[in-house]
Subunit: 262 residues, 2 copies
């Protein structure tokens, strides 16, 4: 349970991470999650030590002795302060929650999913990149995608440039170029996104991280989404456009899976 005066509830004054735990109880991408939460906490001036973060994760892993799962870590500035004004010496709240891991249907991973274009416009976010607790735009957009029966909804910014899906980052392959939107104005810098960008660069791919209009996607050899639970999820259809699954995607999916299976 949580205090009703916690600033995480009052203002969304905090951060979260969603970690995939492998069947043998490891969190392969933990260093990336840890780095993002520590960087976000510094940005928001919420005191957090690496040690506290490690102990919180370890305690949650101990509680669930092995087995695949998902751990959500939530960090808030705790209670106190006067209204929006943060307290001078915050006593942050940090806890982990365990959720079952639900495998993405194999057909989705192989043949891709159909997604839609949300009417909800992703607003500029002064805290772009951070996985903070102000997620109403995503809730509204995800509800819209749900009503329309889409697996995911693509979000555009006010310039009609695609930024991300409601809970996944966006990628496209153009020949030997891997493209993903820049997240300077909005969006969450996903851990799987960071992993893939590093993998692709190591493999000698040209990588472009840049805002591009929606029409840019049309010419792609293939597009796909990523997040730290699913890995890479090909998109076969968006509105009137369709794409094959680019032959590179299953190769990256295998690399991803290898992180979770010994």
């Amino acid at each position: 349970m949580l205090s009703r005066s916690d600033r995480g509830l009052a203002y969304g004054d905090g951060l979260f991470e969603t970690l995939r735990v492998s069947a043998d109880g490891r969190v392969p991408l933990w260093p990336r999650h840890r780095a993002r939460m520590l960087a976000g906490a510094r940005r928001l001036a919420i005191p957090l030590t690496e040690d506290r973060l490690e102990r919180t994760l370890a305690a949650r892993l101990r509680d669930h002795d092995g087995g695949a799962g998902v751990i959500k870590l939530v960090l808030t500035r705790g209670s106190g302060g006067r209204g929006y004004l943060p307290p001078e010496r915050p006593q942050p709240t940090l806890f982990g929650q365990w959720f079952p891991f639900t495998e993405e249907p194999c057909a989705h991973l192989r043949h891709g999913v159909e997604i839609g274009l949300c009417d909800t416009v992703l607003p500029d976010d002064p805290l772009a990149g951070l996985k903070h607790l102000n997620r109403l735009p995503q809730v509204v957009a995800r509800a819209e995608a749900g009503r329309r029966g889409w697996r995911e909804g693509l979000l555009l910014d006010r310039h009609r440039c695609p930024v991300e899906a409601t809970s996944m980052n966006l990628f496209a392959v153009f020949g030997d170029l891997l493209w993903t939107p820049s997240l300077e104005r909005a969006g969450v810098a996903g851990v799987a996104r960071g992993w893939l960008l590093d993998v692709a660069r190591d493999q000698g791919w040209r990588v472009e991280v840049r805002a591009r209009p929606l029409s840019h996607l049309r010419r792609a050899d293939g597009i796909f989404l990523t997040n730290s639970i699913v890995g890479l999820l090909p998109v076969r259809k968006l509105a009137q456009w369709t794409w094959p699954v680019d032959p590179q995607v299953p190769q990256w999916q295998r690399l991803w899976q290898a992180r979770f299976n010994h």
Copy 2:
């Protein structure tokens, strides 16, 4: 206490109201607060009946048998759903919290306060007007105001038009014209703001609700801020600009006070 899986914490998926309670235990502006929360709940598709809202307020008032205070009402979509996707049948969380009422210093109310211009830019908000729980921009801006020793910080949108202060709405008097920014792109439609607009219109003032650049303020006869706790708070200085307290402001302050004192 609150469930750690409440969507109010997870995503800021909810709304709040901050009500001033008079010394004899009344909430003079309750119909306005109630209407705003009901409208916000409809907009977010969070089920809420007027009856439940009334009962929650009444219970909180009973607990504090008389005496001035502040009640904060928090409504969230409750727990459940899959990630951002809201549950089909939400069981909303609704509770009230009691806080002591701290009178604004008399010198502030009479002679005005000095405020500053925040570097934090208020982003566009697809849910502009609503008093929702995504308040990180206000937290960041209020911390900035605090570091600089300002009573309040003025927030501009990306067009450099003033929208509001971190927890107060903005007004300016130009002759027989009362101006306040429109809140179509960002900002909270404050209850005191709504009250004053109605009062001024009833008194025959010309009223302008419109986005204007920051430079517009320079020619004002006086500027002031409003919220439902303080009422009207004159501004005597913003950056290099100063204003007298417009003679109309004390008159509206008296009308405001009359709502809280029999």
